[in-house]
């Protein structure tokens, strides 16, 4: 990795440089001053001036200070950092997909509409549900869509007393944040000693004020809740609906379907389960599948098929409205479509089988070295607790940082909140046994280091371009931009 500090783009500017050649004006010139009101013409524009090579070198130097799935193993629990196939990139860059305008005449975008329609069908099938929208552009966005679908459903039935959404204490932070955004109060259900929803607790909380339950299954500990069917039934009996946070679909795709288990609505994370790249933090895509009773409320426009022709329809009286300026992250959806056409029905099942196999392999090899609280078979991820290291004065954070030295990205740490010093590992199905063995060896080595030389771990990482960062200082004295000329 590049250990040299890369100067900021603001600081490498050199007046007079241009990064791209533009054409001259080819129309008779109108005076800008005459065409715009007084004071509306900008006086100064403090952007950098760089040549194309300056720009190229700058971003190449930055790229060299960055881990990525392409180069490094990312065993990040709940993120499903699988390989991002390049055939997906090739198709998404075709001008027939990349260079089309969202509002050009429908007869000129039939290929795009067909792709979206087919992808919606595939996702609905994987979900075990009836309908699907591709409009949400991220998991949290999908959650919000799903929860307001539930709200619209209750409202359409005049059931306005339902003001509460339930979520387990192990839920991802987006779950309660989403429910609050939708105007619901959030109540937390405790997990039992097995890390699953405490069914008796749940029974005590169900009533006519419950709109629904948000559940991740397998849950954020990587465990399939054996009571999930009963949980869904109980919520339905109380008049509520059940939302499935589909972040962990990589474990059960093709093995079972959330709709069959009793879930009414769910979101997918295409950037997790369906191999679309993370891009450093986005763009993702969070399609929502739902059962037919929620279909009247889907965001507009929906895609309808009329014979062989696809059309966009906005005339849906019950719609919750729009979630996005257009149709969602279409070019991300294209990548997921290519992936599903590559996998096919058989491949979908191979993905989940191997994802679960891989996680269990790492768990089995580490269980004698690390404390794994829920130590039966896991699904596609497992959580270890670093609490035994606390006695040696070493924390999950130190273990995470030391792994960076060895070429691995750290696993997820400190989530879920219900496990002390949580370390959550999810290898995914795209990793080889050799890579997993190197990771296992590294974890074993770190365990030994925690006994022999804990101080070394406190100051890890040692081999990366920078050492641990003063995050407290960053928040106390926020410095959020550079300025040209300063």
């Amino acid at each position: 990795m590049n250990k040299e500090t890369v100067p900021l783009i603001c600081n490498i500017t050199n007046p007079g440089r241009v990064g791209i050649t533009l054409p001259d004006v080819d129309v008779p010139v109108t005076s800008v001053a005459d065409g715009l009101p007084k004071g509306a013409v900008r006086e100064s524009l403090p952007l950098p001036e760089l040549s194309e090579l300056d720009v190229t070198r700058h971003f190449m130097h930055l790229a060299a200070r960055q881990y990525s799935v392409d180069a490094n193993f990312y065993p990040l629990g709940s993120c499903t950092m699988k390989f991002n196939p390049r055939v997906n990139e090739f198709v998404a860059s075709l001008p027939g997909f990349a260079a089309i305008h969202p509002m050009q005449p429908e007869e000129t975008v039939q290929g795009a509409l067909a792709l979206m329609y087919e992808l919606q069908q595939y996702l609905a099938e994987i979900a075990g549900m009836d309908d699907c929208t591709l409009q949400p552009v991220a998991g949290a966005h999908g959650e919000f869509t799903g929860i307001i679908l539930i709200k619209a459903y209750h409202e359409s039935r005049g059931d306005s007393a339902r003001t509460i959404i339930l979520a387990p204490d192990s839920a991802h932070g987006t779950n309660p944040a989403t429910a609050a955004r939708a105007g619901y109060k959030v109540k937390t259900i405790k997990s039992n000693e097995k890390g699953m929803v405490d069914v008796e607790s749940l029974k005590g909380m169900l009533g006519p004020d419950i709109a629904g339950l948000m559940l991740t299954n397998p849950n954020t500990l990587g465990l399939f809740d054996e009571n999930v069917v009963e949980i869904c039934r109980l919520v339905h009996e109380a008049g509520g609906l059940v939302y499935c946070d589909g972040a962990n679909m990589n474990a059960i795709m093709g093995q079972t379907r959330p709709g069959d288990l009793g879930f009414d609505v769910m979101h997918f994370n295409l950037h997790k389960t369906f191999s679309t790249p993370h891009g450093g933090g986005g763009p993702g895509s969070g399609p929502v599948a739902c059962k037919s009773m929620l279909a009247p409320f889907l965001p507009i426009p929906v895609i309808v098929k009329d014979g062989d022709t696809y059309k966009l329809k906005s005339d849906l009286p019950g719609t919750i409205g729009r979630m996005h300026s257009f149709y969602g992250n279409f070019l991300v959806d294209v990548r997921a479509y290519v992936y599903l056409r590559t996998l096919g029905a058989e491949g979908v099942k191979e993905v989940s089988e191997n994802a679960v196999l891989n996680a269990n392999y790492i768990r089995a090899r580490l269980k004698d070295v690390y404390d794994i609280p829920f130590n039966e078979h896991c699904m596609h991820e497992f959580v270890a607790s670093g609490k035994v290291f606390k006695k040696r004065g070493v924390h999950a954070l130190d273990i995470a940082k030391r792994l960076l030295d060895m070429g691995f990205h750290a696993p997820t740490v400190y989530f879920p909140l219900i496990v002390d010093e949580a370390i959550m590992v999810e290898p995914t199905e795209t990793e080889s046994k050799e890579t997993m063995d190197s990771f296992i060896d590294a974890m074993i080595k770190i365990n030994q280091e925690s006994i022999d030389d804990p101080e070394y771990l406190h100051h890890a990482p040692h081999n990366t371009p920078i050492s641990r960062v003063d995050e407290v200082g960053a928040a106390k004295r926020p410095n959020l931009k550079c300025v040209i000329g300063e």
Binding site: L8, V18, I20, V29, T30, L36, G39, A40, L45, L47, L50, T56, A63, C79, P85, F90, G96, A99, I100, H101, P102, P105, V109, E125, V137, A138, G139, G173, A177, A180, G183, F224, E226, T256, D260, P277, G279, G280, G282, P283, G321, R322, M323, F326, F330, A345, E350, V351, L357, A364, H377, P461, S467, R468, V469, D470, A475, P478, L480, K481
Partner: protein, 454 residues
């Protein structure tokens, strides 16, 4: 249902490297004889005993062939001349943008939660934030939101949190789709959205003033507005601030190469759609939600923010900061439920702005301005076409036609031209009005051909 037997087919999928040999060792380590044992936790009645109803998988060359065929059923913007804008713009995307975005280090990186191995992404986001602040003349920018529409929604919610007031006034001259997203975003909250009228292509300032009082959290306008007209931000700012309401401006970032930025007029929050900055039209996404605001509101900002700091050796570096605003820490008390941003798209905008730079962006903006003014004048000189108003405009403009827009556009598309937006479909009072756009890509001969065919 019958018990599933292991159905692993070795070495068929290039994405799954596990061989028979690997499998045997792994099963032994776990202490099971078959992978099906790992799925016994799923109640038997719910374990699928047959494949999903999906098409069979295809070899890579066959997937490509299939998808190339699907793409060919679309007519793209190299084949069609685009005079349609309305929130998605046919600007030129410099080749360096796609080159850098396809670098695996950026494309396949995760969110930069471990700064020691993510300085590439973190610094590029810090630079993005810096360039957005320079462009909008605002104090702080976040790392981006999903798109222009959701950015308006987030800004409106933030304004109610800042002021403690619950009414938001949005101009009808703001993009209809953005107003719909705003409505969806705020429906579950105690927020009342009211619309201010437009007159002669601009927000009607006297009508707006009559709607403003101390119950109003913010006024939202677009700059240039949906009709392409340049709003009088000075007057709107004064009106909003006179009652203690915040001014939210949704911008076209390319226009800020030419126009005085909203920060100079005292805007409190600037949002917008970053797609014009080196992002393909892509049938509507992924796009880029710009979000910038005054320093004093930093703790209320939604989404990720990157800050500069030092490491334990004193080296300058960057990290995600002010995270206690966010969902992973504050959960239901977070400033938003947003988790991801549009990192790779923000990188596109950063590379675009770095490449065009100070002079290039001004030049692109000027080209847009020149071509739109030329086009409008030529069209309005034709019989049957007129200008509905005299408001100043940037790259989009409205013409009134003597025939239905559908009919005009049908003729244009038969000649491989995408005509303007039929405004009558969004504004009943604008029947037979067309919203046209000329970016820097529209050559004189293309404009002349459009005029000829109208």
């Amino acid at each position: 249902m019958t018990n599933m037997s292991s159905s692993l087919k070795r070495n068929k999928l290039s994405y799954i490297p596990t061989t028979d040999g690997d499998l045997a060792e792994m099963l032994a380590a776990i202490g099971i004889s078959d992978t099906s044992e790992l799925f016994k936790i799923i109640p038997e009645d719910y374990r699928l005993d047959k494949p999903l109803n999906l098409p069979s998988g295809l070899a890579e060359q066959d997937v490509v062939s299939l998808c190339v065929g699907m793409a060919a059923r679309n007519k793209n913007l190299h084949e069609l001349t685009c005079f349609l804008g309305a929130g998605a713009y046919d600007h030129y995307v410099p080749a360096i943008v796609d080159t850098m975005l396809s670098r695996g280090e950026f494309l396949t990186a995760y969110t930069p939660y471990q700064p020691e191995v993510a300085q590439g992404i973190l610094q590029s986001i810090y630079e993005y934030q810096s360039l957005i602040c320079a462009l909008t003349q605002m104090d702080i920018s976040n790392a981006s939101l999903y798109d222009g529409g959701t950015a308006v929604g987030e800004a409106a919610i933030m304004s109610t949190s800042i002021t403690g007031r619950s009414k938001v006034v949005v101009s009808r001259a703001v993009h209809p789709n953005y107003r719909q997203v705003l409505s969806t975003y705020t429906a579950g909250l105690d927020i009342n959205i009211v619309e201010a009228p437009f007159k002669d292509g601009l927000t009607d300032i006297s009508a707006l003033i009559s709607m403003l009082d101390d119950t109003v959290a913010s006024v939202i306008v677009q700059y240039p507005n949906f009709f392409g007209c340049v709003e009088d931000l000075g007057a709107i700012s004064e009106a909003a601030h006179a009652v203690g309401a915040k001014l939210i401006v949704s911008v076209d970032p390319v226009s800020l190469g030419l126009l005085t930025p909203p920060g100079a007029y005292g805007a409190d929050i600037v949002v917008g759609e970053g797609q014009p900055l080196g992002v393909h039209t892509g049938f509507g996404g992924p796009y880029l939600g710009i979000f910038a605001c005054r320093q004093e509101y930093v703790w209320k900002v939604p989404g990720r923010i990157v800050g500069a700091t030092t490491d334990s050796e004193g080296r300058p570096c960057y990290c995600l900061t002010l995270q206690t605003r966010e969902q992973h820490i504050r959960r239901e008390k977070a400033t938003s439920n947003i988790c991801s941003n549009q990192a790779l798209i923000a990188l596109a905008a950063t590379i675009y702005l770095s490449s065009l730079g100070k002079n290039g962006l001004k030049q692109v903006a000027d080209l847009c301005f020149q071509k739109s003014h030329y086009a409008k004048e030529r069209i309005c000189n034709k019989a049957g076409f007129s200008s509905p108003w005299n408001a100043p405009f940037f790259k989009e403009f409205v013409v009134k036609c003597d025939k239905p827009i559908d009919e005009i556009n049908k003729k244009l598309i038969d000649n491989n031209i995408i005509g303007g937006l039929d405004l009558g479909k969004f504004y009943p009072e604008l029947e037979n009005h067309m919203l046209l756009c000329t970016t820097e890509k529209r050559r004189k001969e293309q404009i002349d051909l459009l005029v000829e065919l109208l």
